[in-house]
């Protein structure tokens, strides 16, 4: 039986919806691919036609949120007076959108967003990383720091994923400690960029 593109899209969407519900109610670790397949009313083997692993489902879920975050940030980015503030604003709107996934974002950080995964291509998180870093590079240009080097981008990505990991485990009220950490990390990063730029001159 031929499966239409429409049916495929519907199945994919159903998998994402039930997986989100299961992750939220049972937790990421306790949810198996079998559980997801059952809830989506498909065979477990069929699930793998759509997603290679649970982590890929989380990444896909996060991608939608990050897309929304970018739209929100585009409206805010002109307000920022400094690069530090612009970067803070970017990550802050992402965290806001990612909030439903906070409890199970760590597996995504360990796989798709892992700083060491930069060399791997065509991984699910690759596009997300590329888009985010392009935004960061654009902000750096806009604030007069020119093109960011590969080292700078790698350093930034490490800080970024570190802040996300901290946020995922942050027990402070409304995760306020993450805001402080993020603010400080980005200030440190931008200070380093400026120092490096001055030395180049």
């Amino acid at each position: 039986m031929r499966i239409t593109a429409e049916a495929k899209t519907a199945t994919r969407q159903r998998i994402l919806e039930v997986a989100e519900e299961l992750f939220r109610t049972r937790g990421f670790e306790a949810t198996t691919t079998r559980d997801i397949a059952q809830a989506a009313e498909i065979a477990t083997g069929t699930l793998f036609n759509y997603f290679a692993a649970k982590e890929a489902i989380v990444t896909e879920l996060a991608a939608d949120s990050l897309e929304r975050a970018r739209g929100e940030f585009d409206k805010l980015s002109s307000e920022a007076e400094t690069l530090e503030e612009a970067l803070f604003s970017l990550v802050a709107v992402e965290l806001r959108q990612l909030r439903p996934f906070r409890k199970y974002i760590v597996p995504m950080l360990e796989s798709a967003f892992c700083p060491l995964a930069a060399a791997r291509r065509n991984e699910p998180g690759d596009e997300l990383r590329r888009q985010h870093l392009e935004t960061v590079a654009g902000l750096a240009r806009r604030h007069g720091l020119g093109e960011l080097s590969a080292v700078a981008l790698q350093l930034y990505w490490t800080l970024y994923t570190g802040a996300l990991a901290f946020w995922a485990a942050d027990k402070s009220p409304k995760q306020e400690d993450t805001l402080a950490l993020l603010d400080e990390s980005l200030a440190m990063f931008v200070a380093w960029l400026r120092t490096a730029a001055d030395e180049r001159k």
Binding site: E84, E176, A180
Partner: protein, 477 residues
């Protein structure tokens, strides 16, 4: 009563031995400091506290204490340049610190003419200067607390802070219903920072462990930490403000702002905005003696009203907490650090009132012994503390016009205080570090106002208004 924090500071390591700063560099440093924005962030704060901040604070204070006992010339020679250098360095590092250590700094700022003028001025800038949370961070804090962006929650919201608080910053705003308000927003993670600041201070207390009073000192330290941590909960502060506000009538010329609970949380506090000036600007207008006296009387009445009727002690007597309004009213703000007098604490305050009212030495000594756990055979301690208590309370029990601007008298109080610190008389009730903040606080504000008036009638009126029966001893005056 001794302030255990001073004791703790005096116990810090000896002064640092870095070379002198060339005098010609000072203007450049001042300019650099004035222009530099103040960063936010607890990690930097901790780093600063762990290194430069604590060292310099200790060195300076120690320098100052030792210099007090030298001759004027020698003192001048030893300290002149160090004052500037240290004041600048403290400003440099303290700008990063909005937690517990800044509160120590604020205490120092209450020593006009005693701590070097430059030092006090730099610290006072910390009270009032526009502070550091950038707009994006601020917006996240407001969103997290009030559920939406500031520009949606309020009809207008000024992105620039107009005042700094030790735990946050204050913005002008207007509610959609039209009220002009001040919105105090706490720095993220400040509660944790304070806990860590205190933990970082602990190693400096190690010398005090050798003291037989160590356990008592530790109790005081813990009490102070608990109270400052409590100050990070703006909901508690909102309750304090509401209680204080209920104590004053409109026609009394004392204003406590109204809290808007629907726009307030544990981290955001929205209140009526009081448009007034701080003490420096008030004095800059060259007010008459009568105006100065009136300002001091209002401060005193506000303090007594809260204490006698409200049974809450306003201890945060730094100048930034009093606003002089154009119409002559006094605005009182910042109720984060209040001491609620209940049970034993109220009883000991009653006992002190007896000493304050009668002026009898026996009553004074009984109160001091009770407060500081002094044994009968500690005669030197009793004598010194009695002298200090006499200095503290004289204006009250003597009655008649008291000249709070008398420099000699003010210095005598500081001399006595430092002598207590020098002798390490630290044993006292755990709440002492909190109450000692007011000890010089109100006197130094009155000193700066050069106020001259009789405090006793105000006290008696306030006691009467509280319905407090103390006929057993008050009739003896």
């Amino acid at each position: 009563m001794p302030a255990s924090l001073s004791e703790l500071i005096a116990a810090l390591p000896a002064e640092e031995t870095e070379g002198e700063l060339p005098a010609r560099a000072l203007p450049e440093i001042v300019e650099r400091l004035a222009l530099r924005p103040v960063p936010v962030g607890r990690f930097r704060r901790i780093a600063v506290l762990g290194t430069l901040q604590a060292k310099i604070f200790a060195a300076y204070f120690f320098h100052w204490l030792r210099g007090w006992f030298k001759t004027a010339d020698e003192n001048k020679r030893l300290l002149a340049e160090t004052h500037w250098r240290t004041a600048l360095r403290v400003l440099d590092s303290m700008s990063y610190l909005r937690g517990a250590v800044m509160k120590l700094g604020q205490t120092l700022a209450n020593f006009p003419d005693i701590a070097p003028r430059e030092f006090v001025e730099t610290l006072e800038r910390l009270h009032f200067d526009a502070p550091p949370m950038h707009w994006s961070l601020l917006r996240e804090m407001v969103r997290a607390e009030l559920g939406d962006d500031p520009e949606n929650v309020f009809a207008e919201f000024d992105k620039r802070a107009f005042a700094a608080a030790s735990l946050g910053q204050v913005h002008r705003a207007r509610l959609k219903t039209g009220e002009e308000v001040a919105v105090k927003i706490q720095y993220p993670g400040i509660a944790r920072t304070i806990r860590e600041d205190f933990r970082n201070l602990m190693p400096f207390l190690l010398p005090a462990r050798l003291s037989k009073d160590w356990e008592n000192v530790k109790d005081q330290f813990d009490d102070l930490r608990m109270r400052i941590e409590r100050e990070t909960d703006y909901e508690l502060e909102a309750a304090n403000i509401e209680k204080a506000r209920s104590l004053f009538r409109d026609d009394e010329g004392i204003v406590v702002p109204r809290v808007y609970r629907q726009f307030s949380t544990a981290r955001v506090l929205t209140m009526d905005r009081l448009d007034g000036v701080h003490i420096d600007d008030f004095l800059g207008r060259d007010p008459s003696q009568a105006e100065r006296n009136e300002a001091a009387k209002k401060i005193l009445r506000a303090w007594y009203r809260m204490m006698f009727t409200g049974r809450m002690l306003y201890v945060d007597f730094h100048p930034g907490n009093f606003l002089f309004l154009d119409d002559g009213r006094l605005g009182v703000i910042d109720f984060g650090l209040m001491l609620h007098l209940e049970g034993d604490e109220w009883e000991i305050f009653r006992q002190m009132d007896r000493a304050l009212t009668t002026g009898r030495r026996d009553d004074r000594i009984a109160a001091m012994k009770e407060w500081c756990h002094i044994a009968d055979d500690e005669t030197d301690r009793i004598a010194l503390m009695d002298e200090f208590a006499d200095w503290c309370w004289r204006s009250r029990y003597c009655g008649g016009e008291f000249d709070f601007g008398d420099e000699t008298d003010f210095r005598r109080g500081v001399d006595l205080f430092i002598e207590m610190v020098r002798r390490r008389y630290s044993r006292a009730r755990p709440i002492t570090p909190t109450t000692s903040r007011q000890q010089f606080g109100w006197r130094s504000i009155f000193y700066r106002l050069k106020a001259k008036f009789d405090v006793r009638p105000i006290c008696e009126e306030e006691v009467k208004a509280a319905g407090w029966d103390r006929s057993d001893y008050a009739t003896t005056i």
